[in-house]
Symmetry: C2
């Protein structure tokens, strides 16, 4: 049984803050500064170039990948860490296309995180030869999967509403027509149980700065099913994925039979130090417990808001089986209302056109935080304090 009192104590959250934005940027684990100091003073400073060997930097892409793999039901040796999620989407979709060379259509949905769509648009433009990104509404994806489709690329959990796709149903449909599926787990990894191996996923990608708490811009990861590794095209074929990176030959040869071939360039080792410390928090945590607790907290949050906050309405599905681990509410003056919440140390965020979004992350959020958030929201609405002019001013980055 996961001890959430213990996990809560492992985070350094500012006094008095209710942090409901771990779905966007996780808070700092208390162990992060010491892990970084160790890396700086006892690795980079003292080992210098030897650190690639002596401190294992060169293979941290894989050792960290395996630790993430355990949280998403991946086989050992099927996940590597590095680059950004955008790059990993490009790589996975590009690799998928090369597996279905006679087809030209990539299918996605309007609930996908925009950068996934943007990267595919760039890929389509680059490939020139009649490729097409087809984007449908989330509800119609499964029917849009036909034998014309080469690659289906979707984010499992909608970044706005929390709506969750039925991963297994979509994979089964895709495989039945010979299409490949790429899943973006940005709002899944560390949030909900994922079973990449059991559901027969082809490719998956994700990030570590949300529910995994590796810090702003923490590295991304990519999963390739072991059955595909031997033949998968790396697409972004850098020296770090070469069969013999230090032979410095002029011809690329992907690392045979290993996930290493999906590595590209030299990764940030400092960002790995933070990821390592962040993954330590997960030792002894069962994602089924996390999920059970998140559902309890989301149920509580929704029912309290619905009974006490008139004018605020739930976005996305009410059935928890169809929801990830965040809750959004429509509210006409949602932007200003979120600013008022933030001023009172209840931290969520705003997503256009009118959604106040709250991440429900049981590692460091409990009933007390949920109730304080609702109390604060109720008060802001009752006093109409959100109408204050200063809350209407949009910041550059929102």
């Amino acid at each position: 049984m996961t001890d959430f009192t213990k996990t809560r104590a492992m985070f350094d959250i500012p006094e008095g803050m209710v942090y409901l934005n771990g779905n966007s940027l996780g808070p700092m684990p208390k162990a992060s500064p010491a892990a970084m100091t160790e890396f700086l003073n006892n690795e980079w400073r003292t080992e210098l170039i030897k650190g690639w060997n002596t401190k294992g930097w060169f293979m941290q892409t894989n050792t960290l990948g395996d630790r993430i793999g355990k949280l998403i039901g991946a086989e050992a040796g099927s996940v590597v860490v590095s680059d950004t999620l955008s790059i990993k989407v490009f790589q996975a979709v590009g690799a998928g296309l090369s597996m279905v060379p006679d087809r030209r259509v990539i299918l996605s949905d309007t609930g996908n995180f925009p950068t996934d769509l943007y990267m595919v648009q760039g890929l389509v433009k680059l490939k020139e030869d009649g490729y097409e990104l087809r984007t449908v509404e989330p509800e119609t994806v499964i029917d849009a999967i036909t034998d014309e489709i080469a690659v289906v690329t979707l984010t499992e959990v909608d970044y706005r509403t929390g709506r969750k796709h039925d991963m297994k149903a979509i994979i089964d449909k895709a495989h039945s027509v010979g299409a490949v599926v790429v899943w973006d787990l940005a709002h899944s990894a560390g949030a909900i149980p994922v079973d990449l191996s059991g559901t027969n996923v082809d490719f998956a990608v994700g990030c570590t700065y949300k529910f995994l708490n590796a810090g702003p811009g923490g590295p991304a990861f990519i999963y390739v099913a072991p059955r595909l590794i031997e033949t998968v095209e790396p697409v972004l074929s850098g020296w770090y994925g070469h069969e013999a990176p230090f032979a410095f030959t002029t011809d690329y040869r992907p690392m045979p039979g290993k996930i290493d071939r999906m590595r590209i360039g030299t990764p940030s080792i400092a960002s790995f130090a933070l990821l390592e410390a962040a993954l330590d928090v997960w030792d002894g945590v069962d994602l089924n417990d996390v999920r059970t607790r998140a559902v309890e907290l989301m149920d509580l949050f929704i029912s309290e808001v619905e009974s006490r906050c008139a004018g605020v309405t739930l976005a996305g599905p009410r059935n928890m089986d169809e929801r990830g681990s965040h809750v959004s509410f429509h509210f006409e003056d949602g932007y200003a209302c979120m600013q008022a919440l933030i001023e009172r140390k209840v931290i969520g965020d705003f997503r256009a056109p009118d959604m106040m979004r709250f991440g429900i992350t049981p590692l460091f959020v409990g009933e007390a935080e949920i109730l304080k958030a609702v109390d604060t929201l109720e008060d802001i609405l009752k006093t109409e304090s959100y109408k204050d002019a200063r809350f209407q001013v949009r910041s550059a980055v929102t």
Copy 2:
């Protein structure tokens, strides 16, 4: 006049070590741990998601890019930082190709760093439509630039021998036949004066973990000439390069008229904290002074080695105008000899088939270090201690 005593004191190099590998991984600036602690404790921990605004994270790609720009003769607003060098090569060459749509040949040389060639090989495979990477010997590049060539992509300084291309001559030739040039400045930025603006460069890319000392896997950078920014294709089109990243529209629109469009995904902010501290070392440093000092030190190093170390012969050009800021020597048992040097705290590295490589970095290397390195090498050769079996064992990462 640059004060090299002052810059030397800004690095935390282990006692007794002669570090001649700053061309591969720069040593840690003394200010790095405090900068990182500041980022962790007073940015990520306290600001959390707000840090993207309040601490300027979102635009550090550009503010840091401008600081690097000053070291390579770039116009303000023409450089952004993030991703890896491999990714930036792919992006720049891809962007170059889109500017010359009627041509199919990318020209490079065998002296290019292998990952540059690998990434282009991946790009060629991805584009399918008859594209070709043509690789010639470095000496024949200029003659191989014909009106068949779309993009010339080269590393200015050869990572093995230190041989330096004549950047201006190659650019002028390329432009005269309508080709675009992409320069890799991995061994140039912070090593030798570079004048991107004055020499009319189209694209340049580089890394920050070598002569710029931002730590292992520090972020890469990309330069695009201001005259090209309005029309350049981002190729890897991620949300971070969008005109309105927070509008979350489903269609990609590159940031108009700004280098921001070459940004891709969410960058590692921790790696930016290290880069920021590393760039502080460069305040008050004149790269012409660095170059003058490096030439003096290289001349000294070469003449001492040649007079005292029989069997060890210079690789690459003797004329310093044709050399970057590292010196390599051929030696039949070079691998073992380098291991013996490293054991005695003279740190260089080995490059196949037989080269011992030494970076000459005046920010923290002076005459005393050069002489100690030669003394040690002379002794190792005289005593033949490099023949010890333990020096023959190759490490996994070399």
